[in-house]
């Protein structure tokens, strides 16, 4: 590395003295030197696993006859497998409910924090952000305590009014139990991103709007929200990618909600079960690859159709 530095030193001066070829070469070499280490990791730990998953997913291992090439059979199997389909349907439903909820709460909180200033507001900002510091696994463990019938507070609270406490670990309510955990975990993080975007808006715009007679609500609706649309899109994409690969929370709550959350509750849990509990790595890879492909294509299509691709990336 040092050798290259010494050698390239004279050529840096050439840049001002227009020896073009050398400059171009230096640009190529230095560019790749800086990007190279990441490129190696990228190839080894992203491209290679994806290619390997694709490769593995084209084979099937049978007790008799060993491993054989089956082309797309695993994918045909996945897309007719009720476990995979019901898991996928669950994460789609879950995204449709939990993502708008999180974004609305985050947006409301960010707008309040942006519009009002007080010591309590600054304190709230930190407190609401705090769950992001907690690993999702620990968050799920903590909510598992709160949902628990033996030592959770729900029976105390509802007992006050003589009502039966809701069981968020039952099959009726587990959906909402999980929505709650996810909202608690992420709304604060999204709030901080939106808040940072709001703080980046030039206050002169508000002043101009006020002179034109706009109220606070109108300023929020007509100026603030449109101007932070790219940030909203960013968190929408993040939460979509995160929710479709839902794994940690249901996996943790599974041990508490015996019978409610099956091993095929989400596509990722199903892939995990196939690969690690049943040693069915070919089928597990096919599910992983199918899930990754669906997320990729879905998000890309979403960005394309909202025509926001440029402003986001």
């Amino acid at each position: 590395m040092t050798l290259i530095t010494e050698k390239s030193a004279p050529s840096t001066q050439d840049r001002t003295h227009k020896i073009r070829g050398k400059v171009r070469l230096r640009e190529h070499v230095m560019g790749w030197l800086f990007v190279g280490p990441f490129a190696i990791v990228f190839l080894a730990l992203l491209i290679a696993p994806l290619a390997y998953a694709l490769y593995l997913s084209l084979f099937q291992k049978r007790l008799i006859g060993g491993t054989s090439f089956v082309f797309l059979d695993n994918y045909v199997k996945a897309f007719t497998d009720s476990s995979f389909l019901s898991g996928s349907w669950f994460v789609i439903r879950f995204s449709l409910v939990s993502i708008p909820l999180q974004i609305i709460i985050a947006l409301a909180m960010a707008l309040i924090l942006d519009a009002v200033t007080s010591l309590f507001i600054r304190f709230s900002r930190l407190m609401i952000f705090l769950p992001y510091a907690i690993p999702t696994v620990i968050g799920a463990v903590m909510w598992g305590f709160l949902y628990s019938k033996s030592f959770g507070p729900l029976s105390d609270l509802f007992g006050l009014f003589g009502a039966t406490p809701p069981d968020f670990l039952s099959s009726n309510l587990i959906f909402y139990g999980l929505v709650n955990v996810v909202t608690w975990q992420w709304a604060g993080y999204y709030m901080i991103i939106l808040y940072a975007a709001l703080q980046g808006i030039d206050p002169a715009l508000y002043e101009a709007a006020r002179i034109d007679g706009a109220g606070k609500w109108q300023i929020a609706r007509r100026i603030k929200i449109p101007l932070i649309a790219p940030a909203l899109l960013l968190i929408l994409v993040f939460s979509l990618i995160g929710t479709l690969q839902f794994f940690n929370e249901p996996q943790i709550l599974r041990s508490l909600a015996a019978g409610t959350i099956g091993p095929d509750f989400t596509p990722n849990m199903y892939a995990y079960q196939q690969a690690f509990a049943l040693a069915n790595f070919n089928y597990g890879s096919a599910i992983s690859f199918a899930l990754g492909g669906i997320v990729f294509v879905g998000v890309y299509a979403f960005l394309f159709f909202t025509r926001q691709r440029r402003s986001f990336l």
Binding site: A9, Q13, F42, L45, M109, V141, P230, L234, Q245, S288
Partner: protein, 293 residues
């Protein structure tokens, strides 16, 4: 209300009581789990299961006893998990950040061959769900005998395309070409220019990327769960998940394990909460970069 009249003297009194109350409710909601854990990690098994108030302390407050149990149970395996998590977070975080800073700078400041194509690959990688890589990476690593080693957790955490994207945006905007050219004209080599001129300008975003990637490694669950089978290599997330599974599987016999899990959850959270409070100003600068573009 005297507050309000005092505020009225100022230029713009921005204290909306209903909004603040709404926010107050939300703050309570966000803090309830923490409060529950703080209260209940003081209880022994009878205090936990005795049917007392679950949101208030029992008669016996025994933090020290529970802490001692936590760190001595199973030859102090919990302490090991915390150390493992720390190692994974530091190694993964620092490694990913170094790679991301270099690559982001390279993408932003050099017009090299295949730059556009490579960068669009990085952007595409943002949309690849990380968990989709776990099973194939496990299969690959098992061919090289890397599974069930610390490398199985550290190496995959080095991949942080979002960090590269953030650093690229930041380097493009915060490091003017003129300054770099001036340094070169003064005879500084490319690497010296990067380390002594560009890097200090990029520092706010570097801290953000470091925090984001360290937190991501600390939070990781699926990857170590799949890669590791030796529980002495577990990070604290996988370890607590394991305990929770054991405790719920035989509900009656494992009441003492529950108080360990509760104390364990509290202890695992404390370093992060401290880090967040002390480093909070580094968060916003970098996050706004990601949000506004």
């Amino acid at each position: 209300m005297s507050d309000r009249s005092r505020a009225g003297v100022r230029r713009r009194p921005q204290r909306h009581l209903p909004l603040q109350m709404l926010l107050g409710f939300l703050v309570v909601y966000f803090l309830v789990p923490f409060w529950w854990v703080i209260v209940n990690s003081s209880k022994d098994a009878p205090g936990l299961f005795g049917g007392g108030n679950t949101l208030w302390f029992a008669d016996r407050i025994d933090y020290l006893g529970n802490l001692q149990q936590l760190f001595t149970y199973d030859n102090g395996i919990y302490g090991r998990w915390i150390l493992n998590s720390t190692l994974y977070a530091l190694a993964g975080g620092v490694g990913a950040t170094v790679l991301a800073v270099m690559a982001g700078y390279g993408f932003a400041k050099y017009r090299f061959a295949a730059r556009r194509f490579s960068f669009s690959l990085v952007l595409g990688a943002l949309m690849v769900p990380a968990t989709a890589l776990v099973i194939p990476t496990f299969m690959m690593f098992s061919e090289f005998g890397l599974t069930n080693t610390i490398w199985a957790v550290i190496l995959p955490s080095l991949l942080n395309p979002f960090g590269v994207y953030l650093m690229h945006v930041y380097a493009r905007d915060a490091v003017p070409d003129e300054i770099l050219d001036a340094a070169r004209a003064d005879g500084a080599g490319e690497i010296r220019t990067f380390l002594q001129v560009a890097f200090p300008l990029m520092r706010p975003a570097v801290v953000t990327v470091l925090l984001l990637s360290a937190v991501a490694s600390w939070n990781n669950y699926f990857l170590p769960l799949a890669m590791l089978s030796d529980n002495r290599l577990f990070p604290v997330t996988v370890g607590l998940g394991l305990w929770q599974g054991i405790a719920s599987a035989n509900n009656a016999g494992s009441t003492s394990l529950w108080s360990l899990i509760i104390m364990g959850a509290l202890v695992s959270v404390v370093p992060l909460v401290i880090a967040f409070f002390t480093l909070q100003r580094h968060w916003r600068g970098g996050l706004s970069v990601g949000g506004l573009r």
